[in-house]
Amino acid sequence: MNEASDVGAHFKQPLLTTPFHERERALSQVDSFVPWAGYTTVDVFTNVGQEYFAVRNACSVYDLTPMVKYRIAGPDASRYLNRLVTRDLRKLKINRVSYCVWCNDAGHIIDDGTVFRLDENEYRLCTAERQLDWFLDSAIGFDVQISEVTEQIAALALQGPTSCAVLNKLGLAGVERLKPFEFGWFDSSGMRIMVSRTGFTGDLGYELWVDPLHAVALWDALMAAGRSRGIRAIGSRALNMVRIEAGFLLPNLDFVSAESSVRLGTSRSPLELGLAWLVDFEKGHFTGRRALLEQHRQGLKRQLVGLDIAGNKPATNALLYTDRSGSKEIGSVTSAVWSPTCKRNIALAMVEAPHFALGSTLWAEVYLSRELVWERRMCRAQVVDKPFFAPERRRVTPPGDY
């Protein structure tokens, strides 16, 4: 235990480090770290472009440990979760994963995350933000135990076309039989690894969950197994590029959690975020159902859509207008990137009705620096289908050796 005088000395090192930190620091060439959920994490190891292409061309390793993990267990665990989230979880089988969102009574989204069914009465919920307060309040009346287990599980995302081949090389027999959103347990040189076919890249990929004691050994084994398959550690910057291509949302970028929004009219419903496919009105009562049903009936005032924008300058934070002269403002860009794989200038944007309809033309106000001489450009933008990038290999089981 700590010395008494050192109890609560968090001010000395406010951010925790993950079990992979030593390895990551050794690989970091540009010393670029960012805080995420209370941990020091890598923004860029060497070069964003190279890290990006590791995901799309070979395979990438991303340290997922700071992802907030909750263990939800007890006789009422299934009923509890089914009331918490908007999706029907009654169909979720053991060893399957479901992407879910949960809302407050107003139908405003609190967060999104993945639910892993570990056993009949045991689940793991992974989210980007902490929300024990909400989960515990929601648990009143249910025979269920909820605890945060973030520090008890180390996690790596192994993503990219060669990811399955690397896991095979690591000796995880049968890993290729995992279907998307399925997970299983594998042994590799004394380590017990939970492998799920999930990810945040929209590509073929897996997430590996181990006891933190085995974290460094897993890292080393993966790197060795992947050396000939182009394996590369990546930081958050490259991940952000691929997740926009895949059309995935990030809290505090694409939406603000209803539990932390201060201003009126800034929280969003899953319908407005284009996640209607996650809302099941037929499954019985869930938190936010009445408000969402009402919104569903009345139609949406705004929706998050994909944009294809002229030019090659990412339209980060751009305001959107109906016409080139910018007379009427109708929304704003939440995430934007030049997609090196699609060769398109893409963005996620919150757009007011009726302009969010597929095929609508909008205008984005983009600021360009020409060697510090700033220019304002109105760029034509078209509402297009998401995801922007969805390779067939992400679904094929067993995956080939791409």
């Binding site: 001010f11 406010p14 107003a106 902490r130 024990l132 307060d133």
Partner: protein, 533 residues
């Protein structure tokens, strides 16, 4: 009003609100003179050297609520005002534990999680709700509250503004606002937190300067009142005025003088002169009479109308309401010169939390018991203290290596059940506070070079605040907005033409905000048709 030397406006009291009003009026071209009873200016925003080279902020001691638009318009930074935020704060517990508050969100979450993991995450929801309510109140601070019974276009316009502003909150938050303005701090905090120490730390700002306990209805608003300031857009941040709180009034005085206004010290106003229902000037203690078109009183509403205006000149219902205005003494203050920095073994060495506000009340229960003592007419045996050592951040407050400690004490009555205050009782009160601190700092007593002990009775005598009430009147819902100070007289005007109130007895209340002074000046200028609105 022929002769040039005669001022247009006399302001009674050189506290921060009197000076703010004076500055705005002088900038509008009026000839303004401020009269101050003491040989020094500042009122309750004052820096004094009472021992060696130590500077005491001997009344108000930290700054957050002073409206940024006032600092900007009156160019206070140019005249020497600098506000430096401090980070953190802590409560030391009776069992040797502690809770620290940090600016860093992750450090703060981990710190609260030591006491309750759930509270660490509920803190974000708490901060969200407090900020939501602050965002509602803030635009109302620099406005004259409307008279809901009036049909004047201006009042109707302001009522519509208030109504529209309220409407824009949305249904759920309208309910929240009404609950917030009326509930107790303890009930409010119970809706977020389970840990006693977390609740106790947060509840402190709900009782400061208030003759109510944490379980009294209305204290949730007082908590909010302490959050509605900001420093450089950080909502709820508190800081030190460099050079002590006197720097606020010094910079205001310099701004005033640059606009042609004048200040007379040692010029105590004995009477506000009234002729035919109109104030025509003042009489000083030495008999000198000064006439002026207008008089603004920075004194509280009771001192103004019960001590300084002839009651024969005032309507009886009005006087009755003035007498009923709640302005109770509940706080004391110690200013201590220290030979070095005291140690606090509960706090990890090097923690920034000791550079902020330090407390030793670790449960709501303990705070409520402290209030019980006050109700019995005694100072709290285990008082709530808000203790800071500004010299850790502001090097001008104490000689090198020495320190100045400001200790705000709640609760201390204006009138003791045991009879009038005297030197022995003042010392006993001071010793209670010093012993309380010494329980958490073994070397504290040995470092004391000098201690100034101030009871509510002393504060009234020195500063002129009735009962030593730091807000010039309780901040309860019955005395806020269009009810402050008196229903029907919430617009800085009084039953006497030419006499205005500009102190914290008026909307939006105390806390070294300056808003009452600015709003009063605007009302005056409107009456003189010197502004459009």
């Amino acid at each position: 009003m022929g002769e040039r030397s005669k001022p247009d406006v006399l302001i009674v009291g050189a506290g921060h609100n009197g000076l703010v009003a004076a500055c705005y009026l002088a900038r509008a071209g009026l000839k303004v003179q401020v009269l101050e009873r003491n040989p020094y200016i500042g009122g309750a925003a004052v820096s004094r050297k009472l021992y060696g080279d130590f500077t005491y902020s001997n009344c108000s001691y930290v700054c957050s609520l002073l409206r940024p638009e006032i600092m900007r318009t009156l160019e206070l930074p140019r005249f020497g005002l600098q506000i430096i935020p401090y980070d953190g704060g802590c409560t030391m517990m009776r069992d040797g534990g502690h809770l620290a508050l940090y600016d860093n969100h992750d450090a703060l979450r981990r710190e609260i999680a030591r006491h309750s993991k759930r509270d660490a995450e509920a803190y974000d929801r708490y901060a969200r709700d407090v900020i939501r309510q602050c965002k509602f109140i803030k635009p109302l601070l620099m406005r004259e509250p409307p008279d809901p019974t009036s049909f004047k276009p201006r009042d109707i316009r302001e009522l519509l503004y208030l109504g529209g502003h309220f409407q824009r909150l949305g249904e759920a938050r309208m309910y929240d606002t009404l609950r917030f303005w009326t509930m107790s701090a303890a009930d409010f905090l119970d809706e977020y937190f389970e840990s006693e120490i977390v609740k106790a730390h947060m509840a402190g700002s709900a009782i400061i300067g208030t003759a109510l306990g944490p379980r009294s209805p209305g204290t949730a608003y007082v908590l909010l009142h302490h959050y509605m300031g900001d420093i450089d857009d950080t909502v709820g941040a508190w800081g030190f005025a460099r050079g002590g709180m006197g720097a606020v009034t010094r910079s205001l005085a310099a701004s005033l003088q640059a606009s042609g206004g004048t200040i007379r010290t040692s010029a105590g106003v004995e009477r506000i002169l009234v002729r035919n229902g109109r104030s025509v000037g003042v009489a000083l203690a030495d008999g000198e009479e000064i006439s002026a078109r207008l008089v603004l009183s920075n004194m509280d509403v009771k001192r103004t109308f019960l001590n300084t205006v002839d009651s024969k000149e005032l309507p009886e219902d009005f006087l009755r309401q003035v007498r009923n205005f709640k302005i109770r003494g509940s706080s004391g203050k110690l200013n201590i010169a220290l030979d070095g920095l005291p140690s606090f073994p509960a706090i990890p060495v090097g923690s920034p939390s000791t550079r902020g506000d330090m407390h030793v009340t670790d449960t709501i229960e303990m705070m409520e018991r402290a209030y019980d003592d006050w109700k019995e007419g005694a100072w709290s045996r285990a008082p709530y203290i808000d203790m800071l050592i500004p010299s850790q951040i502001d090097p001008t407050m104490a000689p090198d290596g020495k320190h100045y400690m400001s200790v705000f004490v709640q609760y201390c009555p204006y009138q003791l059940a045991s009879g009038p205050w005297d030197a022995a009782k003042r010392k006993a009160f001071g010793d209670t506070v010093i012993d309380t601190i010494a329980q958490h700092s073994p070397d504290f007593k040995s470092l004391i070079l000098h201690a100034e002990v101030r009871t509510p009775f002393d504060i009234e005598n020195e500063v002129g605040l009735t009962e030593g009430n730091i807000f010039q009147g309780e901040l309860t819902f019955d005395q806020l907005l269009f009810n402050r100070p008196i229903p029907g007289y919430a617009q800085y005007r009084t039953p006497l033409r030419g006499l205005y109130l500009c102190g914290s007895s008026t909307h939006p209340g105390g806390g070294v905000m300056g808003a009452p002074g600015a709003n009063a000046a605007r009302a005056v200028l409107r009456d003189l048709r010197l502004t459009g609105t």
